[in-house]
Amino acid sequence: MSAISFQNALSIHPQALLVRAGRSEVLANNLANADTPGFKARDFDFQAVLNGEVEKQRSLEMNTTNNRHIGGRVQEDYDLQYRWPTQPSIDGNTVDDNVENAEFTKNAMAFNASFEFLNRKFNGLTNAIRGE
């Protein structure tokens, strides 16, 4: 019988949570720079990054030539893209407060959803370990 594997038990949710947190940083930076001349709003495709991230976690494992080597994985940065502005402004800033605010809120809600999933997984594991 195999032991409980965190990797399998938690599935994609820890990565999803991290990507959500990373995206909130990008969106918060957009909002903070809403009045900075020439600033271009940035964002990334959550779906693509999550797919890529999971792909990377699987593929970029380090080689071990000795069984005492500690295994590791390489983390890469997200592919950031530029927001397509709906209305150009004269100072070259492409931040639309309302769009960014909506995206930030949606991202926060999705973060909470991912967190709930992860939390339930932990609760399930705890129950399994206790065996009550």
């Binding site: 909130s24 940083e25 918060a28 809403a34 009045d35 950031l80 930030f104 926060a108 909470n112 939390n119």
Partner: protein, 146 residues
């Protein structure tokens, strides 16, 4: 963690917007500050914002590249005086009038300043909102597994 960065970012946004509110308050307070020469007249002040980049020390050099560099907030690069011409009025009876009877009023446009004030306070509120949301998200992660 990224969420603590969000708090720093929105904090920098709040600081920048309060500087903007400060200059607006200064401009409005000095809107009627008259003077008897061009050089000594108050001129409207405007902050210039700039993207705040991570300090080089904290930076992973292999990742320095414009495509991945989002920046980590906003900073006030400087405060500049407005270029618009001063409001010169002929008021010979004014106690501050020069020998030709002219009084120099600042180039403060009150309507523009009011619009700026509204914009600054709204941007400030947006940053507060972001701050609060990030705080809730962080608090939530601390309760994981409970």
């Amino acid at each position: 963690m990224s969420l603590t960065n969000v708090i720093n970012i929105s904090g920098s946004g709040m600081t920048a917007q309060s500087v903007r509110l400060n200059t607006t308050a200064s401009n409005l307070a000095n809107a009627e500050t008259v003077s008897s020469s061009i050089d000594t007249t108050y001129r409207a002040r405007k902050p210039v914002f700039q993207v705040l980049q991570d300090s080089l020390i904290n930076r992973d050099f292999s990742a320095v590249d414009l495509e991945t560099d989002v920046g980590s907030g906003v900073k006030v690069a400087g405060i500049v005086e407005k270029d618009a011409p001063l409001d010169i009025r002929y008021e010979p009876t004014h106690p501050m009038a020069d020998e030709n009877g002219y009084v120099y009023y600042p180039n403060v446009n009150v309507v523009e300043e009011m619009a700026d004030m509204m914009s600054a306070s709204r941007s400030f509120a947006v940053n507060v909102e972001v701050f609060n949301t990030a705080k809730t998200m962080l608090q939530k992660t601390l309760t994981m597994g409970k």
